[in-house]
Symmetry: C2
Subunit: 355 residues, 2 copies
C-alpha cells in the first residue's frame, strides 16, 4: 500500500551505468572524473570507487565537505570561485587536493595568500553556450589568467573545462554529435596553443553517445549515474537505463482519463520537457515489468505543491501496491528533494539533504 | 561575506501579514484556518497562535504529524483522501481532531471502519478550475457522498472547500475579484441547498484583496504568510509585504550586464513567471533599503542546478556583504528547499525538511 511518494533507486541499473562509462573511458584513454551532484550519496559514491575512480567533481564547497568525509581527497569544485568560498576551502585543503574554476586574476592573487597547499585551476571555457566561463577566443583573458596562476605560490594552471549545455537541447544521437562540435573545436584550438593543458568536458549526452572524443582528455558527466526521461528524449539512453523513479499514490480518479496523485513540485521539481507540444513533468511506466516501458501518452501534465495531475490515466497502469511508477524529467532535481533512496529489495540508501 | 545562498525571513513583515488577515477575518466574521504548507515551521506556526488561531490546514499526513507535535489538535488535511493515508490517520486521531477531503463513498465506508473517533469531512468542489474535487453541479455525486457520511458512525459532513487556482492567473485586484466570482457563485448555490454546510475558500489572492466574501464562512490561505514576487505581480500585495528572500553570492560578472550567482534550481525551485515576455525566476531588490524596492529590469533569467544567471546586473546592486537580494517567484517552493530561516538580526528559525 503506497502511503506517500517514494524515491526508488535500482542499484543494478545504476552500477551498469557507472561501469559502462568507466569502461568506455578506460578504452578511449579518457580520465573519468564523475560529477557527484546528481546522486549526492556517499554509498552511491562508493560504487564509483569500486570501478577505480579516485577523482570526483562537485558543485559547491558544502558538497565537497560531504564527500571528503568518506575519504575522497581529489575533488574538483565545478563552480566559478567567489571569495565567500575561501574559508570553506581552507578547511578542505587540509585533507583534499583541490581543483577549482577561477576567472579573475585578483581572485587568484587572493587565494594564493589564503591557501597553504598547491591547488589546481581550470579555466572554464564558454564555447558558445553562454552560461559562464571565458569565451574560447578571448586570448587576452586566458593569457592573463594563466600568467596569474604561474605567478602564484600555490596555484597551478591545470587545464580547460567546458560544460556544454547545448547538447541537452538535442533530440537524437546525430544531433548530440553535431551540437558538441563547437566544444570539441574550441578545446582542440586551446590544446594546440597549450599542449600540456588538460581538456575536460562535462555534459551527459556527449559522454553517453560519442565513441571519439578528439582533443578531450577528461569527462565529468553527472546525470548518467541515473539518467531520466529528459535523457531518454535527448537520445543519451534507453528507458531501461534510468535507475531512479518515484512511486506515487493515486488520490482521485477524474473523468477524461485523468487522475490526481500525491506527488507534486516538492517531489518532482518543476522541470518539464515539451513533448508532443505539451508540458511533461514525468513519464508514467507500464506496471510490474522487469524492463521499463513507457505507458502510451500517460504522463504528469501539471504539478502544484503536493498534487500532480496525470493525463492519459488508466487504472490498469497501477502497480500491485496501488501506486503509479513515474520516471522523473530531471533526476538531479527530483533526487535533491528526498533524503534517502529505497531500493526494490527494500534497503534504504541515505543521501545528503540540502540546507 | 556571503558564503552560500541563504534564506531569510523577516519576523516583522511576516507577523504583519498574519495580523492583517486575522483582523480582517475577525471583522468580517470569517473563520481563518491558515494553510501551513508554505512556512512548515513550528516557530512560525506559533505566531498564528498568538493571533488566536486554533485550527490549521496542511497538505499531507506527514505535515499534520509535524504540527501535532507542537500541540495543534484541530487540523484539516487539504488533500484528497487515499487509502494509504489510513495508518497515519489512526495515529493522528489519538490527539488531533481531523478534517479530511473525501471524494468516494467506498473510502468513506473504509475509513469509518478504520478510525475510532469522529472526523469531519469537506467535499472538495471544482468550480471550474479543474484540478481536483467534485464539480459543483454534480448533485448526484454530492448527495451520495453526504449520504455515506451521514450513514457512517464516525464521519460527519462538514462542508464544501474550494481552492481556486484561477486567481493566480490574475493581474490586478479587479481581475482577482472577477476570477473569484465562479467560486463564490458555486459556494452560494451549495449554501442555499445545504444551509448548515461550512463553505471554505483556499486561495491567497482573493483572501488578500476581497472585502466581501459573500457566502464564504472560512478562508484557508497559506502563501500570504510570506507572499512572493508572483503575488506582487498578481496584485495580492506590495513588494514590501514579502517576508522571505534569498541572499546569494555573485560568482562571476559577465558582459552584457549579466552575472552568475551561486543560487540555482536547488535554492529557488524552477517556478517562473512570464514578465515582459521573458521568464523571471526571481526578482532582484535594490540594496540596503529599509523598504523593498525591485531593481529595474534586474532578475533571475535562467537557472541550472546550482547556477543562476542574473540579467540587468549592475554591481551597485550588491548588498554590503557582496550578495544580491532576491525575492522568490513562489515562496512555498523556495522555502521547501531550505531547512531553516535566518532572520535579519541573525537568529535561526528551524523548519521541517521533506523526505
Amino acid at each position: 500500500m503506497a502511503t506517500k511518494p517514494q524515491l526508488f533507486l535500482d542499484p543494478k541499473r545504476c552500477k551498469n551505468n557507472i561501469e559502462r562509462i568507466a569502461e568506455k573511458a578506460k578504452k578511449l584513454g579518457l580520465t573519468f572524473r564523475p560529477h557527484f551532484k546528481t546522486h549526492q550519496s556517499i554509498e552511491v559514491g562508493r560504487w564509483f570507487r569500486d570501478q577505480g575512480i579516485t577523482g570526483i567533481t562537485v558543485s559547491s564547497v558544502e558538497m565537497a565537505k560531504y564527500f571528503a568525509q568518506d575519504g575522497w581527497n581529489d575533488i574538483t569544485i565545478a563552480f566559478p570561485f567567489y571569495s565567500g568560498m575561501t574559508e570553506g576551502l581552507k578547511e578542505l585543503e587540509k585533507k583534499v587536493s583541490l581543483r577549482l574554476f577561477m576567472n579573475s586574476t585578483s581572485d587568484i592573487e587572493h587565494l594564493n595568500h589564503s591557501l597553504r597547499n598547491p591547488f589546481q585551476v581550470y579555466i572554464e571555457i564558454d564555447a558558445g553556450y553562454g552560461r559562464s566561463g571565458v569565451h574560447y577566443t578571448d586570448n587576452e583573458k586566458i593569457e592573463s589568467l594563466i600568467g596569474a596562476l604561474d605567478k602564484g605560490d600555490q596555484s597551478q594552471f591545470h587545464g580547460f573545462y567546458i560544460h556544454d549545455g547545448g547538447t541537452y537541447q538535442a533530440r537524437g544521437v546525430e544531433e548530440i554529435k553535431k551540437r558538441i562540435q563547437a566544444s570539441h573545436s574550441a578545446l582542440k584550438k586551446l590544446k594546440k596553443r597549450y599542449p600540456s593543458a588538460v581538456t575536460s568536458l562535462g555534459d551527459t549526452p556527449s559522454a553517453s553517445v560519442l565513441e571519439e572524443f578528439e582533443s578531450v582528455d577528461e569527462i565529468t558527466p553527472g546525470n548518467l549515474v541515473f539518467y531520466d526521461w529528459m535523457q531518454v528524449q535527448i537520445g543519451s539512453c534507453k528507458p531501461d537505463n534510468v535507475a531512479v523513479w518515484v512511486d506515487v499514490p493515486v488520490a482521485q480518479e477524474l473523468s477524461g482519463n485523468k487522475a490526481i496523485i500525491h506527488g507534486g513540485a516538492v517531489h518532482f521539481s518543476k522541470d518539464f520537457i515539451i513533448q508532443d507540444e505539451v508540458k511533461n513533468y514525468g513519464q508514467v511506466l507500464k506496471p510490474n515489468e522487469d524492463h521499463f516501458t513507457p505507458a502510451d501518452h500517460c504522463f504528469l501534465s501539471a504539478l502544484s505543491q503536493e498534487h500532480g495531475t496525470v493525463s492519459g490515466y488508466k487504472n490498469n497502469l497501477l502497480q500491485d501496491d496501488g501506486s503509479l511508477r513515474i520516471l522523473p524529467i530531471h533526476s538531479c532535481l527530483t533526487v535533491n528533494l528526498f533524503d534517502h533512496y529505497r531500493t526494490p529489495s527494500g534497503n534504504i540508501i541515505k543521501k545528503r539533504v540540502l540546507s
